[in-house]
Symmetry: C2
Subunit: 310 residues, 2 copies
Protein backbone atom coordinates (compact mmCIF):
# COMPACT_ATOMS: atom_id res chain seq x y z
CA UNK A 1 0.00 0.00 0.00
CA UNK A 2 1.45 3.39 -0.97
CA UNK A 3 2.69 5.30 2.02
CA UNK A 4 3.76 8.84 2.63
CA UNK A 5 7.42 8.86 3.63
CA UNK A 6 9.37 11.75 5.11
CA UNK A 7 13.07 11.94 4.23
CA UNK A 8 14.98 14.32 6.49
CA UNK A 9 17.99 15.71 4.58
CA UNK A 10 18.26 16.03 0.80
CA UNK A 11 21.93 15.11 0.28
CA UNK A 12 23.24 12.08 -1.62
CA UNK A 13 21.82 9.50 0.79
CA UNK A 14 18.45 11.23 1.18
CA UNK A 15 18.08 11.60 -2.58
CA UNK A 16 18.99 7.96 -3.20
CA UNK A 17 16.51 6.68 -0.54
CA UNK A 18 13.86 8.94 -2.09
CA UNK A 19 14.42 7.46 -5.55
CA UNK A 20 13.99 3.98 -4.07
CA UNK A 21 10.82 4.90 -2.15
CA UNK A 22 9.31 6.45 -5.32
CA UNK A 23 10.15 3.30 -7.32
CA UNK A 24 8.05 1.26 -4.89
CA UNK A 25 5.05 3.50 -5.28
CA UNK A 26 5.34 5.65 -2.18
CA UNK A 27 5.12 9.43 -2.06
CA UNK A 28 8.12 11.23 -0.61
CA UNK A 29 8.47 14.52 1.18
CA UNK A 30 12.09 15.63 1.67
CA UNK A 31 13.09 18.34 4.15
CA UNK A 32 16.25 20.33 3.63
CA UNK A 33 17.04 23.89 4.72
CA UNK A 34 19.26 24.37 1.64
CA UNK A 35 17.32 25.96 -1.23
CA UNK A 36 19.29 23.96 -3.83
CA UNK A 37 18.13 20.60 -2.44
CA UNK A 38 14.97 20.58 -4.54
CA UNK A 39 16.82 20.76 -7.87
CA UNK A 40 19.51 18.36 -6.66
CA UNK A 41 17.03 15.69 -5.52
CA UNK A 42 14.89 15.91 -8.67
CA UNK A 43 18.02 15.64 -10.83
CA UNK A 44 19.21 12.66 -8.79
CA UNK A 45 15.90 10.84 -9.13
CA UNK A 46 15.86 11.49 -12.91
CA UNK A 47 19.37 10.03 -13.32
CA UNK A 48 18.63 7.07 -11.00
CA UNK A 49 15.35 6.18 -12.70
CA UNK A 50 16.74 4.15 -15.65
CA UNK A 51 18.72 2.03 -13.16
CA UNK A 52 15.67 1.52 -10.96
CA UNK A 53 13.58 0.54 -13.99
CA UNK A 54 16.23 -2.00 -14.86
CA UNK A 55 16.01 -3.53 -11.36
CA UNK A 56 12.28 -3.26 -10.63
CA UNK A 57 9.42 -4.67 -12.65
CA UNK A 58 6.61 -2.49 -13.95
CA UNK A 59 8.03 1.00 -13.42
CA UNK A 60 6.82 3.80 -15.70
CA UNK A 61 9.19 5.29 -18.31
CA UNK A 62 9.47 8.58 -16.47
CA UNK A 63 10.17 9.17 -12.78
CA UNK A 64 6.98 10.07 -10.84
CA UNK A 65 8.29 13.46 -9.75
CA UNK A 66 4.72 14.51 -8.96
CA UNK A 67 4.99 12.22 -5.89
CA UNK A 68 8.13 14.02 -4.70
CA UNK A 69 8.03 17.22 -2.63
CA UNK A 70 10.91 19.11 -1.08
CA UNK A 71 10.31 21.55 1.78
CA UNK A 72 12.61 23.63 3.92
CA UNK A 73 11.17 22.46 7.26
CA UNK A 74 11.12 19.07 8.93
CA UNK A 75 7.63 19.67 10.30
CA UNK A 76 6.27 20.14 6.77
CA UNK A 77 7.94 16.94 5.50
CA UNK A 78 6.66 14.91 8.48
CA UNK A 79 3.07 16.09 8.22
CA UNK A 80 1.00 12.95 7.56
CA UNK A 81 4.08 10.71 7.21
CA UNK A 82 3.83 7.00 8.07
CA UNK A 83 7.63 6.41 8.05
CA UNK A 84 10.63 8.70 8.50
CA UNK A 85 14.11 8.11 7.03
CA UNK A 86 16.52 10.50 8.72
CA UNK A 87 19.56 11.43 6.60
CA UNK A 88 20.85 14.56 8.32
CA UNK A 89 24.39 15.54 9.34
CA UNK A 90 26.10 12.70 11.23
CA UNK A 91 26.50 14.54 14.53
CA UNK A 92 24.43 14.07 17.66
CA UNK A 93 23.36 17.73 18.11
CA UNK A 94 21.71 18.07 14.68
CA UNK A 95 20.12 14.61 15.09
CA UNK A 96 18.46 15.64 18.39
CA UNK A 97 17.22 18.88 16.88
CA UNK A 98 15.79 17.11 13.82
CA UNK A 99 13.97 14.51 15.92
CA UNK A 100 12.58 17.17 18.22
CA UNK A 101 11.03 19.01 15.27
CA UNK A 102 9.88 15.79 13.60
CA UNK A 103 8.03 14.68 16.74
CA UNK A 104 5.94 17.88 16.73
CA UNK A 105 4.38 16.69 13.44
CA UNK A 106 4.35 12.88 13.69
CA UNK A 107 1.84 10.47 15.17
CA UNK A 108 3.53 8.74 18.16
CA UNK A 109 3.79 5.29 16.59
CA UNK A 110 5.53 6.41 13.35
CA UNK A 111 9.03 4.93 13.10
CA UNK A 112 12.05 7.21 12.70
CA UNK A 113 14.92 5.28 11.09
CA UNK A 114 18.30 6.99 11.13
CA UNK A 115 20.77 6.43 8.26
CA UNK A 116 23.68 7.25 10.59
CA UNK A 117 26.94 5.46 9.90
CA UNK A 118 28.76 6.54 13.06
CA UNK A 119 26.24 7.22 15.86
CA UNK A 120 24.40 4.84 18.19
CA UNK A 121 20.60 4.49 18.27
CA UNK A 122 20.72 4.84 22.08
CA UNK A 123 22.34 8.27 21.77
CA UNK A 124 20.05 9.41 18.95
CA UNK A 125 16.88 8.54 20.90
CA UNK A 126 18.15 10.00 24.18
CA UNK A 127 16.11 13.23 24.19
CA UNK A 128 13.09 12.04 22.22
CA UNK A 129 9.49 12.24 23.38
CA UNK A 130 8.85 8.75 21.98
CA UNK A 131 12.27 7.09 21.95
CA UNK A 132 10.71 3.66 21.39
CA UNK A 133 10.03 4.44 17.70
CA UNK A 134 13.64 5.37 16.93
CA UNK A 135 16.16 2.94 15.41
CA UNK A 136 19.17 2.90 13.12
CA UNK A 137 18.65 1.70 9.52
CA UNK A 138 22.04 2.16 7.93
CA UNK A 139 22.35 1.66 4.15
CA UNK A 140 25.42 1.35 1.97
CA UNK A 141 25.84 4.14 -0.55
CA UNK A 142 23.94 4.36 -2.86
CA UNK A 143 20.92 2.80 -1.10
CA UNK A 144 18.85 2.54 -4.29
CA UNK A 145 21.47 0.18 -5.81
CA UNK A 146 23.09 -1.65 -2.86
CA UNK A 147 20.43 -3.72 -1.03
CA UNK A 148 21.94 -3.99 2.48
CA UNK A 149 20.18 -2.22 5.37
CA UNK A 150 21.65 -2.73 8.86
CA UNK A 151 19.05 -2.47 11.61
CA UNK A 152 20.14 -1.57 15.14
CA UNK A 153 17.90 -0.96 18.16
CA UNK A 154 18.79 1.47 20.92
CA UNK A 155 18.21 0.68 24.60
CA UNK A 156 14.77 2.31 24.48
CA UNK A 157 13.67 1.04 21.06
CA UNK A 158 10.40 -0.91 21.18
CA UNK A 159 10.69 -4.68 20.56
CA UNK A 160 8.25 -4.24 17.66
CA UNK A 161 10.24 -1.56 15.88
CA UNK A 162 12.90 -3.84 14.34
CA UNK A 163 10.43 -6.38 12.82
CA UNK A 164 8.30 -3.47 11.59
CA UNK A 165 11.29 -1.85 9.91
CA UNK A 166 12.34 -5.23 8.51
CA UNK A 167 8.91 -5.66 6.89
CA UNK A 168 9.09 -2.17 5.41
CA UNK A 169 12.59 -2.52 3.90
CA UNK A 170 11.92 -6.06 2.72
CA UNK A 171 8.91 -4.74 0.82
CA UNK A 172 11.42 -2.53 -1.04
CA UNK A 173 13.54 -5.60 -1.89
CA UNK A 174 16.24 -4.56 0.57
CA UNK A 175 18.32 -7.15 2.42
CA UNK A 176 18.09 -6.42 6.15
CA UNK A 177 20.34 -7.69 8.89
CA UNK A 178 20.03 -7.32 12.67
CA UNK A 179 22.98 -5.87 14.52
CA UNK A 180 22.56 -7.15 18.09
CA UNK A 181 25.01 -4.81 19.83
CA UNK A 182 25.68 -1.13 19.36
CA UNK A 183 29.29 -0.82 18.24
CA UNK A 184 31.29 1.67 16.11
CA UNK A 185 30.70 0.94 12.42
CA UNK A 186 27.63 -1.23 13.12
CA UNK A 187 28.60 -4.37 11.19
CA UNK A 188 29.37 -3.75 7.51
CA UNK A 189 31.75 -0.87 8.15
CA UNK A 190 33.65 -2.92 10.72
CA UNK A 191 34.24 -5.55 8.04
CA UNK A 192 35.14 -2.87 5.52
CA UNK A 193 37.63 -1.34 7.95
CA UNK A 194 39.23 -4.69 8.68
CA UNK A 195 39.90 -5.25 4.99
CA UNK A 196 41.02 -1.67 4.49
CA UNK A 197 43.49 -1.83 7.37
CA UNK A 198 45.43 -4.59 5.62
CA UNK A 199 44.97 -2.92 2.20
CA UNK A 200 46.79 0.10 3.67
CA UNK A 201 49.34 -2.03 5.50
CA UNK A 202 50.34 -3.88 2.30
CA UNK A 203 51.19 -0.55 0.66
CA UNK A 204 52.92 0.76 3.80
CA UNK A 205 55.11 -2.36 4.00
CA UNK A 206 55.97 -2.23 0.29
CA UNK A 207 54.37 -5.61 -0.43
CA UNK A 208 52.46 -4.25 -3.43
CA UNK A 209 51.25 -1.05 -5.09
CA UNK A 210 47.87 0.60 -4.47
CA UNK A 211 46.82 -0.44 -7.98
CA UNK A 212 47.80 -4.08 -7.45
CA UNK A 213 45.93 -4.22 -4.12
CA UNK A 214 42.82 -2.90 -5.84
CA UNK A 215 43.17 -5.27 -8.79
CA UNK A 216 43.80 -8.21 -6.46
CA UNK A 217 40.48 -7.58 -4.66
CA UNK A 218 38.38 -6.74 -7.71
CA UNK A 219 39.62 -9.67 -9.83
CA UNK A 220 40.15 -12.10 -6.96
CA UNK A 221 38.38 -12.50 -3.61
CA UNK A 222 36.09 -9.51 -4.24
CA UNK A 223 34.38 -11.46 -7.00
CA UNK A 224 33.39 -14.10 -4.50
CA UNK A 225 32.38 -11.54 -1.86
CA UNK A 226 30.05 -9.99 -4.44
CA UNK A 227 28.19 -13.29 -4.33
CA UNK A 228 28.76 -14.85 -0.90
CA UNK A 229 30.01 -13.95 2.55
CA UNK A 230 33.26 -15.34 4.00
CA UNK A 231 31.70 -18.02 6.21
CA UNK A 232 29.82 -19.58 3.30
CA UNK A 233 32.90 -19.34 1.08
CA UNK A 234 34.97 -21.35 3.56
CA UNK A 235 32.11 -23.83 3.96
CA UNK A 236 32.42 -24.54 0.23
CA UNK A 237 36.23 -24.54 0.63
CA UNK A 238 35.96 -27.36 3.16
CA UNK A 239 34.96 -30.01 0.62
CA UNK A 240 32.54 -32.73 1.68
CA UNK A 241 33.21 -31.97 5.37
CA UNK A 242 32.09 -28.37 4.94
CA UNK A 243 32.76 -25.57 7.38
CA UNK A 244 33.67 -27.85 10.29
CA UNK A 245 36.35 -29.51 8.18
CA UNK A 246 37.66 -26.14 7.03
CA UNK A 247 37.85 -24.77 10.57
CA UNK A 248 39.43 -27.89 12.08
CA UNK A 249 42.00 -28.35 9.32
CA UNK A 250 42.70 -24.83 8.09
CA UNK A 251 41.64 -22.73 11.07
CA UNK A 252 45.21 -22.74 12.41
CA UNK A 253 46.54 -21.25 9.13
CA UNK A 254 44.04 -18.41 9.51
CA UNK A 255 45.21 -17.84 13.06
CA UNK A 256 48.83 -17.69 11.82
CA UNK A 257 47.94 -15.17 9.13
CA UNK A 258 45.91 -13.09 11.60
CA UNK A 259 49.00 -12.78 13.75
CA UNK A 260 50.98 -11.44 10.78
CA UNK A 261 48.48 -8.73 9.76
CA UNK A 262 49.65 -5.14 10.06
CA UNK A 263 48.55 -2.26 12.22
CA UNK A 264 49.42 0.76 10.07
CA UNK A 265 49.20 4.39 11.18
CA UNK A 266 47.95 6.93 8.64
CA UNK A 267 50.88 9.34 8.85
CA UNK A 268 51.24 12.24 6.40
CA UNK A 269 53.88 10.28 4.47
CA UNK A 270 51.67 7.23 4.16
CA UNK A 271 48.75 9.39 3.01
CA UNK A 272 51.01 10.85 0.26
CA UNK A 273 52.07 7.35 -0.78
CA UNK A 274 48.45 6.18 -0.97
CA UNK A 275 47.30 9.24 -2.95
CA UNK A 276 50.22 8.89 -5.40
CA UNK A 277 49.50 5.19 -5.84
CA UNK A 278 45.84 5.90 -6.51
CA UNK A 279 46.77 8.52 -9.13
CA UNK A 280 48.94 5.95 -10.89
CA UNK A 281 46.03 3.53 -10.79
CA UNK A 282 43.32 5.73 -12.26
CA UNK A 283 45.57 7.46 -14.82
CA UNK A 284 43.41 9.78 -16.94
CA UNK A 285 40.00 8.38 -15.94
CA UNK A 286 37.84 11.00 -14.31
CA UNK A 287 35.58 10.57 -11.31
CA UNK A 288 32.38 10.94 -13.31
CA UNK A 289 33.39 8.17 -15.73
CA UNK A 290 34.35 5.91 -12.83
CA UNK A 291 31.10 6.57 -10.95
CA UNK A 292 28.96 6.00 -14.04
CA UNK A 293 30.73 2.73 -14.82
CA UNK A 294 30.42 1.63 -11.17
CA UNK A 295 26.69 2.39 -11.05
CA UNK A 296 25.99 0.58 -14.33
CA UNK A 297 27.97 -2.40 -13.06
CA UNK A 298 26.21 -2.35 -9.66
CA UNK A 299 22.85 -2.50 -11.44
CA UNK A 300 24.02 -5.43 -13.54
CA UNK A 301 25.41 -7.20 -10.47
CA UNK A 302 22.23 -6.59 -8.45
CA UNK A 303 20.19 -8.07 -11.33
CA UNK A 304 22.51 -11.05 -11.55
CA UNK A 305 22.06 -11.69 -7.82
CA UNK A 306 18.26 -11.68 -8.00
CA UNK A 307 18.32 -15.32 -9.17
CA UNK A 308 20.78 -16.70 -6.59
CA UNK A 309 19.83 -19.18 -3.86
CA UNK A 310 22.06 -17.44 -1.27
CA UNK B 1 51.03 -19.50 -30.66
CA UNK B 2 49.90 -22.83 -29.20
CA UNK B 3 52.27 -24.14 -26.57
CA UNK B 4 52.74 -27.40 -24.81
CA UNK B 5 52.08 -26.90 -21.10
CA UNK B 6 52.89 -29.29 -18.30
CA UNK B 7 50.57 -29.26 -15.29
CA UNK B 8 52.05 -31.07 -12.28
CA UNK B 9 49.23 -32.42 -10.15
CA UNK B 10 45.73 -33.29 -11.36
CA UNK B 11 43.63 -32.15 -8.41
CA UNK B 12 41.06 -29.33 -8.43
CA UNK B 13 43.56 -26.55 -9.16
CA UNK B 14 45.50 -28.51 -11.78
CA UNK B 15 42.30 -29.52 -13.57
CA UNK B 16 41.00 -25.95 -13.56
CA UNK B 17 44.30 -24.52 -14.91
CA UNK B 18 44.24 -27.24 -17.58
CA UNK B 19 40.73 -26.28 -18.70
CA UNK B 20 41.89 -22.68 -19.04
CA UNK B 21 45.04 -23.59 -20.99
CA UNK B 22 42.98 -25.75 -23.38
CA UNK B 23 40.51 -22.90 -23.92
CA UNK B 24 43.37 -20.72 -25.16
CA UNK B 25 44.50 -23.28 -27.70
CA UNK B 26 47.39 -24.88 -25.82
CA UNK B 27 48.00 -28.58 -25.38
CA UNK B 28 48.23 -29.82 -21.81
CA UNK B 29 50.03 -32.75 -20.26
CA UNK B 30 49.07 -33.40 -16.63
CA UNK B 31 51.16 -35.56 -14.32
CA UNK B 32 49.58 -37.30 -11.36
CA UNK B 33 50.58 -40.54 -9.67
CA UNK B 34 46.93 -41.25 -8.82
CA UNK B 35 45.32 -43.45 -11.46
CA UNK B 36 41.95 -41.72 -11.06
CA UNK B 37 43.35 -38.32 -12.08
CA UNK B 38 42.76 -38.94 -15.78
CA UNK B 39 39.01 -39.48 -15.42
CA UNK B 40 38.72 -36.65 -12.87
CA UNK B 41 40.51 -34.10 -15.07
CA UNK B 42 38.58 -35.02 -18.22
CA UNK B 43 35.31 -34.79 -16.32
CA UNK B 44 36.34 -31.43 -14.88
CA UNK B 45 37.21 -30.02 -18.31
CA UNK B 46 33.90 -31.25 -19.74
CA UNK B 47 31.92 -29.54 -16.96
CA UNK B 48 34.01 -26.35 -17.16
CA UNK B 49 33.76 -26.06 -20.94
CA UNK B 50 30.31 -24.39 -21.19
CA UNK B 51 31.51 -21.72 -18.74
CA UNK B 52 34.73 -21.18 -20.68
CA UNK B 53 32.75 -20.91 -23.93
CA UNK B 54 30.61 -18.26 -22.31
CA UNK B 55 33.70 -16.25 -21.33
CA UNK B 56 35.95 -16.75 -24.35
CA UNK B 57 35.19 -15.96 -27.97
CA UNK B 58 35.40 -18.59 -30.68
CA UNK B 59 35.65 -21.79 -28.66
CA UNK B 60 34.40 -25.02 -30.24
CA UNK B 61 31.21 -26.65 -28.91
CA UNK B 62 33.08 -29.58 -27.40
CA UNK B 63 36.19 -29.53 -25.19
CA UNK B 64 39.36 -30.43 -27.14
CA UNK B 65 40.14 -33.44 -25.00
CA UNK B 66 42.46 -34.69 -27.74
CA UNK B 67 44.88 -31.95 -26.63
CA UNK B 68 44.82 -33.22 -23.03
CA UNK B 69 47.06 -36.04 -21.78
CA UNK B 70 47.45 -37.36 -18.27
CA UNK B 71 50.54 -39.37 -17.28
CA UNK B 72 51.71 -40.85 -14.03
CA UNK B 73 55.20 -39.31 -14.15
CA UNK B 74 56.38 -35.73 -14.04
CA UNK B 75 59.14 -36.42 -16.55
CA UNK B 76 56.59 -37.58 -19.14
CA UNK B 77 54.42 -34.47 -18.63
CA UNK B 78 57.42 -32.13 -18.89
CA UNK B 79 58.82 -33.69 -22.05
CA UNK B 80 58.77 -30.92 -24.68
CA UNK B 81 56.90 -28.47 -22.39
CA UNK B 82 57.41 -24.72 -22.85
CA UNK B 83 55.73 -23.78 -19.53
CA UNK B 84 55.11 -25.65 -16.27
CA UNK B 85 52.28 -24.97 -13.83
CA UNK B 86 53.04 -26.82 -10.60
CA UNK B 87 49.93 -27.76 -8.57
CA UNK B 88 51.27 -30.43 -6.22
CA UNK B 89 50.81 -30.88 -2.47
CA UNK B 90 51.50 -27.63 -0.60
CA UNK B 91 54.49 -28.89 1.41
CA UNK B 92 58.13 -28.13 0.71
CA UNK B 93 59.36 -31.75 0.47
CA UNK B 94 57.00 -32.80 -2.34
CA UNK B 95 57.69 -29.50 -4.14
CA UNK B 96 61.46 -30.13 -4.15
CA UNK B 97 60.95 -33.69 -5.38
CA UNK B 98 58.63 -32.57 -8.17
CA UNK B 99 60.99 -29.86 -9.36
CA UNK B 100 63.94 -32.26 -9.30
CA UNK B 101 62.12 -34.65 -11.58
CA UNK B 102 60.76 -31.88 -13.81
CA UNK B 103 64.25 -30.49 -14.38
CA UNK B 104 65.46 -33.81 -15.77
CA UNK B 105 63.04 -33.33 -18.68
CA UNK B 106 62.85 -29.55 -19.19
CA UNK B 107 65.00 -27.19 -21.25
CA UNK B 108 66.80 -24.86 -18.78
CA UNK B 109 64.92 -21.69 -19.71
CA UNK B 110 61.39 -23.12 -19.29
CA UNK B 111 59.53 -21.38 -16.46
CA UNK B 112 58.16 -23.38 -13.53
CA UNK B 113 55.31 -21.47 -11.90
CA UNK B 114 54.09 -22.81 -8.57
CA UNK B 115 50.42 -22.46 -7.59
CA UNK B 116 51.37 -22.62 -3.89
CA UNK B 117 49.20 -20.67 -1.50
CA UNK B 118 51.39 -21.03 1.57
CA UNK B 119 55.05 -21.49 0.55
CA UNK B 120 57.69 -18.98 -0.55
CA UNK B 121 59.32 -19.00 -4.00
CA UNK B 122 62.73 -18.73 -2.31
CA UNK B 123 62.14 -21.99 -0.43
CA UNK B 124 60.66 -23.78 -3.44
CA UNK B 125 63.65 -22.93 -5.67
CA UNK B 126 66.25 -23.72 -2.97
CA UNK B 127 67.45 -27.09 -4.32
CA UNK B 128 66.81 -26.51 -8.02
CA UNK B 129 69.38 -26.87 -10.77
CA UNK B 130 68.02 -23.73 -12.44
CA UNK B 131 66.38 -21.78 -9.62
CA UNK B 132 66.19 -18.65 -11.80
CA UNK B 133 63.21 -20.06 -13.75
CA UNK B 134 61.12 -20.76 -10.66
CA UNK B 135 58.44 -18.37 -9.40
CA UNK B 136 55.10 -18.39 -7.61
CA UNK B 137 51.97 -17.83 -9.72
CA UNK B 138 49.14 -18.20 -7.22
CA UNK B 139 45.56 -18.25 -8.54
CA UNK B 140 42.27 -18.01 -6.71
CA UNK B 141 40.08 -21.07 -6.90
CA UNK B 142 38.84 -21.87 -9.51
CA UNK B 143 41.54 -20.36 -11.78
CA UNK B 144 39.50 -20.81 -14.96
CA UNK B 145 36.80 -18.48 -13.57
CA UNK B 146 38.58 -16.05 -11.21
CA UNK B 147 41.14 -14.00 -13.19
CA UNK B 148 43.63 -13.04 -10.46
CA UNK B 149 47.17 -14.48 -10.60
CA UNK B 150 49.64 -13.30 -7.95
CA UNK B 151 53.25 -13.37 -9.16
CA UNK B 152 56.06 -13.59 -6.62
CA UNK B 153 59.78 -13.92 -7.32
CA UNK B 154 62.15 -15.79 -5.04
CA UNK B 155 65.62 -14.46 -4.19
CA UNK B 156 67.13 -16.43 -7.10
CA UNK B 157 64.36 -15.83 -9.65
CA UNK B 158 65.65 -14.23 -12.87
CA UNK B 159 64.60 -10.60 -13.43
CA UNK B 160 63.05 -11.71 -16.74
CA UNK B 161 60.88 -14.44 -15.25
CA UNK B 162 58.15 -12.19 -13.82
CA UNK B 163 57.57 -10.19 -17.05
CA UNK B 164 57.62 -13.44 -19.03
CA UNK B 165 55.03 -15.01 -16.75
CA UNK B 166 52.99 -11.80 -16.89
CA UNK B 167 52.93 -11.97 -20.70
CA UNK B 168 51.87 -15.61 -20.59
CA UNK B 169 49.01 -15.16 -18.09
CA UNK B 170 47.86 -11.93 -19.72
CA UNK B 171 47.56 -13.84 -23.00
CA UNK B 172 45.04 -16.04 -21.12
CA UNK B 173 43.08 -12.95 -20.04
CA UNK B 174 44.25 -13.34 -16.45
CA UNK B 175 44.79 -10.28 -14.24
CA UNK B 176 48.32 -10.43 -12.83
CA UNK B 177 49.71 -8.53 -9.88
CA UNK B 178 53.28 -8.33 -8.60
CA UNK B 179 53.86 -9.18 -4.96
CA UNK B 180 57.12 -7.41 -4.11
CA UNK B 181 57.90 -9.19 -0.84
CA UNK B 182 57.57 -12.81 0.14
CA UNK B 183 55.07 -12.95 3.00
CA UNK B 184 52.58 -15.51 4.34
CA UNK B 185 49.42 -15.45 2.23
CA UNK B 186 51.12 -13.52 -0.60
CA UNK B 187 48.65 -10.64 -0.99
CA UNK B 188 45.06 -11.74 -1.69
CA UNK B 189 44.92 -14.24 1.18
CA UNK B 190 46.25 -11.63 3.60
CA UNK B 191 43.32 -9.41 2.64
CA UNK B 192 40.94 -12.35 2.86
CA UNK B 193 42.23 -13.21 6.32
CA UNK B 194 41.88 -9.65 7.52
CA UNK B 195 38.22 -9.60 6.55
CA UNK B 196 37.66 -13.10 7.93
CA UNK B 197 39.19 -12.24 11.29
CA UNK B 198 36.52 -9.60 11.89
CA UNK B 199 33.80 -11.82 10.35
CA UNK B 200 34.66 -14.37 13.06
CA UNK B 201 35.01 -11.74 15.76
CA UNK B 202 31.53 -10.32 15.09
CA UNK B 203 30.03 -13.75 15.72
CA UNK B 204 32.27 -14.37 18.75
CA UNK B 205 31.22 -11.07 20.33
CA UNK B 206 27.53 -11.68 19.63
CA UNK B 207 27.20 -8.63 17.37
CA UNK B 208 25.45 -10.64 14.64
CA UNK B 209 24.76 -14.15 13.38
CA UNK B 210 26.90 -16.04 10.84
CA UNK B 211 24.10 -15.64 8.32
CA UNK B 212 23.79 -11.89 8.85
CA UNK B 213 27.57 -11.43 8.48
CA UNK B 214 27.47 -13.30 5.18
CA UNK B 215 24.42 -11.40 3.95
CA UNK B 216 25.97 -8.09 4.98
CA UNK B 217 29.04 -8.77 2.84
CA UNK B 218 27.27 -10.28 -0.17
CA UNK B 219 24.53 -7.61 -0.35
CA UNK B 220 26.66 -4.72 0.88
CA UNK B 221 30.39 -3.99 0.59
CA UNK B 222 31.08 -7.24 -1.27
CA UNK B 223 29.10 -5.94 -4.23
CA UNK B 224 31.51 -3.04 -4.54
CA UNK B 225 34.58 -5.26 -3.98
CA UNK B 226 33.40 -7.41 -6.87
CA UNK B 227 33.94 -4.34 -9.02
CA UNK B 228 36.64 -2.20 -7.37
CA UNK B 229 39.32 -2.40 -4.72
CA UNK B 230 39.10 -0.52 -1.42
CA UNK B 231 41.49 2.32 -2.35
CA UNK B 232 39.49 3.21 -5.47
CA UNK B 233 36.22 2.92 -3.53
CA UNK B 234 37.38 5.48 -0.99
CA UNK B 235 38.70 7.70 -3.79
CA UNK B 236 35.14 7.85 -5.12
CA UNK B 237 33.91 8.30 -1.54
CA UNK B 238 36.03 11.43 -1.20
CA UNK B 239 33.89 13.52 -3.54
CA UNK B 240 35.58 16.14 -5.73
CA UNK B 241 38.70 16.04 -3.51
CA UNK B 242 39.15 12.33 -4.13
CA UNK B 243 41.33 10.01 -2.10
CA UNK B 244 43.33 12.81 -0.45
CA UNK B 245 40.15 14.36 0.87
CA UNK B 246 38.90 11.00 2.09
CA UNK B 247 42.16 10.24 3.91
CA UNK B 248 42.54 13.69 5.45
CA UNK B 249 38.91 13.97 6.59
CA UNK B 250 37.87 10.39 7.28
CA UNK B 251 41.24 8.69 7.84
CA UNK B 252 40.92 9.28 11.60
CA UNK B 253 37.56 7.45 11.70
CA UNK B 254 39.24 4.43 10.05
CA UNK B 255 42.01 4.56 12.63
CA UNK B 256 39.37 4.58 15.41
CA UNK B 257 37.58 1.59 13.90
CA UNK B 258 40.86 -0.27 13.40
CA UNK B 259 41.54 0.08 17.13
CA UNK B 260 38.15 -1.49 17.92
CA UNK B 261 38.55 -4.58 15.68
CA UNK B 262 38.70 -7.93 17.41
CA UNK B 263 41.39 -10.57 17.75
CA UNK B 264 39.39 -13.77 18.12
CA UNK B 265 40.82 -17.19 18.95
CA UNK B 266 39.34 -20.19 17.19
CA UNK B 267 38.52 -22.23 20.29
CA UNK B 268 36.46 -25.42 20.07
CA UNK B 269 33.42 -23.53 21.37
CA UNK B 270 33.78 -20.80 18.78
CA UNK B 271 34.16 -23.40 16.02
CA UNK B 272 30.90 -25.03 17.19
CA UNK B 273 29.18 -21.66 17.18
CA UNK B 274 30.39 -20.92 13.64
CA UNK B 275 29.40 -24.32 12.28
CA UNK B 276 25.94 -24.07 13.88
CA UNK B 277 25.47 -20.57 12.47
CA UNK B 278 26.47 -21.76 9.02
CA UNK B 279 23.98 -24.65 9.20
CA UNK B 280 21.22 -22.17 10.06
CA UNK B 281 22.29 -20.07 7.09
CA UNK B 282 22.31 -22.74 4.39
CA UNK B 283 19.24 -24.62 5.66
CA UNK B 284 18.46 -27.42 3.22
CA UNK B 285 20.68 -26.24 0.34
CA UNK B 286 23.32 -28.80 -0.54
CA UNK B 287 26.91 -28.13 -1.44
CA UNK B 288 26.53 -29.11 -5.08
CA UNK B 289 23.64 -26.68 -5.57
CA UNK B 290 25.61 -23.91 -3.89
CA UNK B 291 28.74 -24.59 -5.97
CA UNK B 292 26.80 -24.71 -9.22
CA UNK B 293 25.03 -21.45 -8.45
CA UNK B 294 28.34 -19.84 -7.44
CA UNK B 295 30.09 -20.93 -10.63
CA UNK B 296 27.24 -19.72 -12.86
CA UNK B 297 27.27 -16.41 -11.03
CA UNK B 298 31.08 -16.11 -11.24
CA UNK B 299 30.87 -16.57 -15.02
CA UNK B 300 28.18 -13.89 -15.26
CA UNK B 301 30.19 -11.54 -13.05
CA UNK B 302 33.41 -12.15 -15.02
CA UNK B 303 31.53 -11.34 -18.23
CA UNK B 304 30.04 -8.23 -16.71
CA UNK B 305 33.54 -7.06 -15.70
CA UNK B 306 34.96 -7.46 -19.20
CA UNK B 307 33.53 -4.07 -20.20
CA UNK B 308 34.67 -2.07 -17.17
CA UNK B 309 37.29 0.71 -17.30
CA UNK B 310 38.86 -0.38 -13.97
Amino acid sequence: MPQHIAVLGGGLIGASWSALFLAYGHSVHISDPDGSADAFCRGFVRRAWPHLRDLTQGLPDHPPLDRLRVSSTIAAACDGASFVQECGPDRIGPKHAMIKEAETALAPHVLIASSTSSLMATDIQAQAQHPDRILVAHPMNPPHLVPLVELVAGRLTSPDAIPQAEAFYTSLNRVTIRVQKERPGHLANRLTSALYQEAVNIVAEGIASVEDVDRAIAYGPGMRWGLMGPHLIYHLGGGAGGYRQYLEHLGPTQQTRWADLGRPTLTDDLIEQLVLGLEQEIKELDTQELEDARDRALVALAKLKQGLPF
